[in-house]
Symmetry: none
Subunit: 521 residues, 2 copies
């Protein structure tokens, strides 16, 4: 009997029955199902709900559903498979009309042969019977030298799954309800420990707010600042456009302040409400804030400014001991921003703010009004990974791999582009390459595209090369192609060996593969 | 031996042990447990963790836990039941003080209150006795009748872990980078299928934006609307305060429109930019929008209004076939809002908007500026769960359990409060209880608190009872206590049997357990 023998009840399916209508419920059900097949709401090969389940859902007798299924099997809309229930037949028109396959398919949905009468049809399980499928994002170009991407192949997939399993085995049911909007306490606890020992951050768990990546942290903070009246946030020039835009959109005014060889020009901060800075490794130039400037910016913060310290690649120092976070010097006047986007994966969207006490409640309030808190299971999984030592192990692996790739990149540049200067490689995930001769960025971008290479933050005099995501042979090949493209676009002799990247082509969006609605940005 | 024979590990209960202290760990554990019983954090009748589980959690020997349990059994704090492990004894003071049974205990408490803040007890899933720990959210009161909470004990923990494992086994590395801000295409694809077949929603994947819960969807949408100029969003009165606040904070003006027995008063929408409505099951009154009003609101939408349809408990219909979503009638003028907060768990923070084409780019732009997209791994895990049929199976289980609990609640009300009227129980997760006599909400709230019962949306004439999260015996006990509390606070004869809930005490925040910074809200 159709649908009667399966254990699985099959998919949810809406059919509306009008009990006040003159037509019988069975006729209405049959029409509803035919319509669903015609409209593609029921895909060829999809498993039908069991007759028992559908009868219960529609509050009709099971007999009625069995009869309706049998009628539609006879008409060729549905088919049965012994022991496996009832399926949508392989041709949408059934035996009634076209006789041939209605949709040509596509790799997603394997289809059965055309139906005649009630004979069995090779259906597919509900798992694969999708015809309506979105496009999976295109793979990046072969050599995408995006500067902010870590070695994603090192992501600890098995450890992450195990950590989630452990979390779900032990979590009390009520913790599956709405989470603490500041982040689950377990994660705030381990972050406080980690940031204190690894970065010198003064961070009781009560100061920490877990966010959906660093960008949400900046947006929440900017909204909290703007709620107190007009607010101006000084940003480094150059800096990440994504961050500037998120701040500005959240309601603060932006004031660009130049960056030189000693880092951001602290005297230029003036009376800004706050300053977003990257003291340990300026993004994108790679310079570290000098000792003098560090003292000056702490003093600026203590006299009423708020420093927002984006500690974006703190974990990756190669040739020198890490600089402690500024926050440790003035925890009541510095916001520390971090995330796992460079240490685990941007896909996780896990970041945090360490806040002066006075800003905690306003930022948590913004978080609650924005999304009522983040995914508790991901947060607990990260907490578990840190607690079991898996996170620290992963960081050590990643640092070793990134350093080897940094060395491979500098070797490749020395080999293929010996006249270029390489800057900012003491730390981080990318190098700034000062070009031997000024070039036309648009022409170079096109020449690189032909060679399946993509670089970012290009100016006539420099470009950025992210190395962390690529193994040594790929870096060598990418740099060879870069040298080849540079030779093709030519240019005058480069007049000044010193270059600061000022994004002109393909700015440093952290989000390169997505088509952003440009009207909105 | 106490706690040794059970399969279930029992509730999480971590006692903070100070290894640097001079007192023995066993003495500390015993004191911690006595304190938890005295403070009511361990309710009479609650099952204790197995000795094995507690030893693992605390990182102590199992022998130590067994001995501590035995000591507390001897003192009358704990009791054993052959073959079923160790329980908190029926008297709160143990052998020390009152001597009388506080609650009948035993079978009633399905899961003991797991953990709570404070000095003695801190809960961390499967993690050990950390001394630097943030406060874990307090367990809810014993009978927390929050109206929006599903049966979280049904969450498919093993299936969720398996789905993540499958996802991580197959995912290309580059997918660990920044996700599509509209949501991963796999999830948008299966949601399009699911919403079409289960809700009659016209939803190509290109119309869908995955959000961090329904609230973020509303916030993003409101920002997109406000970007076009001053915008007014009509909301039902009464409705969820969380939603109103999120909309208002995102920059739109709110216009309350009354709800009567036919649902929202459509004539009151007027020239509003948009209207947030719950047509299938009004939140909180439980009425369905009448056929006439459905036609009227679709016509209002087609003539320039935008309907925002919050389909918040679409999956739970008990006595009638589901009403199709309004969106299917006017997909270019209706936004459909959904989430898994009522079907899987609020902790996942997974929701979606199905948008008219013209709103997709603006909303994706807002998402990008807010958090650059949601957690791709959670989204892919949900997509996998839907594709394998696990989600539909879970829904059937949940619907059956919720229906049985709904029946248990109505039976309990008939038994203990026969004069009350019960409204809005054809669907959803809660009932509106019209009280036999008007009461003082503050007095009732206090009387209920003494009985460890919490209800929501209370007015002098009605209150809401969420039933989905509680098994039948707990519902019976909670209603018995409610009747007892009502008898205590008394009140005049109730003049009118018809009541619409207008929240006065403990409004319907979806986020009851969290201390919201009240200055911000």
């Amino acid at each position: 009997m159709p649908g009667s023998g399966t254990g699985a009840a099959g998919p949810e399916l809406l059919v509306e029955l009008d009990r006040s209508a003159t037509r019988t419920l069975r006729a209405q059900l049959e029409d509803g199902l035919r319509g669903a097949v015609h409209a593609g709401r029921l895909a060829p090969g999809a498993a039908m709900p069991s007759s028992r389940a559908m009868a219960r859902d529609l509050d009709v007798s099971r007999r009625l559903v069995v009869d309706a299924y049998a009628q539609l099997v006879a008409e060729g809309y549905l088919a049965t498979r012994p022991g496996a229930g009832t399926f949508v037949a392989g041709t949408a028109g059934g035996a009634v009309s076209t006789g041939g396959p209605l949709a040509s398919g596509g790799a997603v949905a394997p289809r059965g042969p055309a139906v005649s009468g009630g004979s069995a049809v090779a259906g597919v399980p509900a798992t694969t019977g999708r015809t309506r499928s979105a496009t999976v994002p295109p793979a990046p170009p072969r050599f995408d030298l995006f500067p902010g991407r870590p070695d994603l192949s090192a992501f600890p997939r098995a450890a992450w799954t195990r950590a989630l399993r452990d979390v779900l085995r032990a979590l009390p049911d009520h913790r599956l309800g709405y989470p603490d909007p500041a982040g689950v306490p377990e994660l705030r606890g381990v972050l406080a420990d980690y940031l204190a020992r690894a970065r010198g951050v003064v961070a009781g768990p009560e100061r920490i707010v877990v966010t959906s990546g660093a960008v949400q942290g900046l947006a929440l903070l900017a909204r909290a600042l703007a709620a107190g009246g007009p607010a101006v946030v000084a940003v480094e020039d150059p800096s990440l456009p994504d961050h500037r835009r998120a701040l500005e959109h959240a309601g603060v005014r932006i004031r660009p302040v130049p960056v030189d060889d000693d880092g951001v020009w602290v005297d230029g901060l003036g009376d800004a409400t706050a300053a977003l800075v990257t003291p340990a490794h300026q993004m994108p130039t790679g310079v570290a804030l000098s000792q003098e400037r560090r003292a000056a910016i702490v003093s600026w913060a203590r006299s009423g400014g708020l420093v927002i310290e984006d500690d974006y690649d703190a974990e990756f120092r190669y040739d020198r001991p890490p600089l402690a976070a500024l926050q440790g010097l003035a925890p009541d006047d510095v916001v520390h921003v971090g995330s796992v986007s460079k240490t685990l994966a941007p896909a996780l969207r896990l970041g945090w703010l360490v806040l002066p006490h006075r800003l905690v409640a306003p930022v948590v309030g913004e978080k609650l009004l924005d999304d009522m808190g983040g995914d508790a299971l991901s947060q607990l999984t990260l907490a578990r990974l840190v607690e079991t030592g898996g996170y620290d192990r992963h960081l050590r692996t990643l640092r070793r791999r990134h350093r080897a790739r940094r060395d491979a990149l500098t070797a490749a540049l020395a080999r293929h582009l010996p006249q270029a200067r390489v800057l900012g490689v003491a730390a981080g995930l990318h190098a700034t390459v000062a070009l031997p001769r000024p070039i036309d960025p648009l022409a170079l971008d096109a020449a690189l595209a032909e060679r399946s290479v993509r670089v970012y933050g290009m100016t006539p005099r420099s470009l950025l090369v992210g190395y962390a995501a690529h193994p040594a042979p790929a870096l060598d090949e990418a740099v060879r192609r870069l040298a080849d493209a540079l030779a093709e676009v030519g240019g005058a002799t480069y007049p000044n060996a010193r270059a600061i990247a000022r994004p002109a082509v393909r700015p440093l969006n952290m989000h390169p593969p997505t088509k952003v609605p440009s009207s909105e940005l």
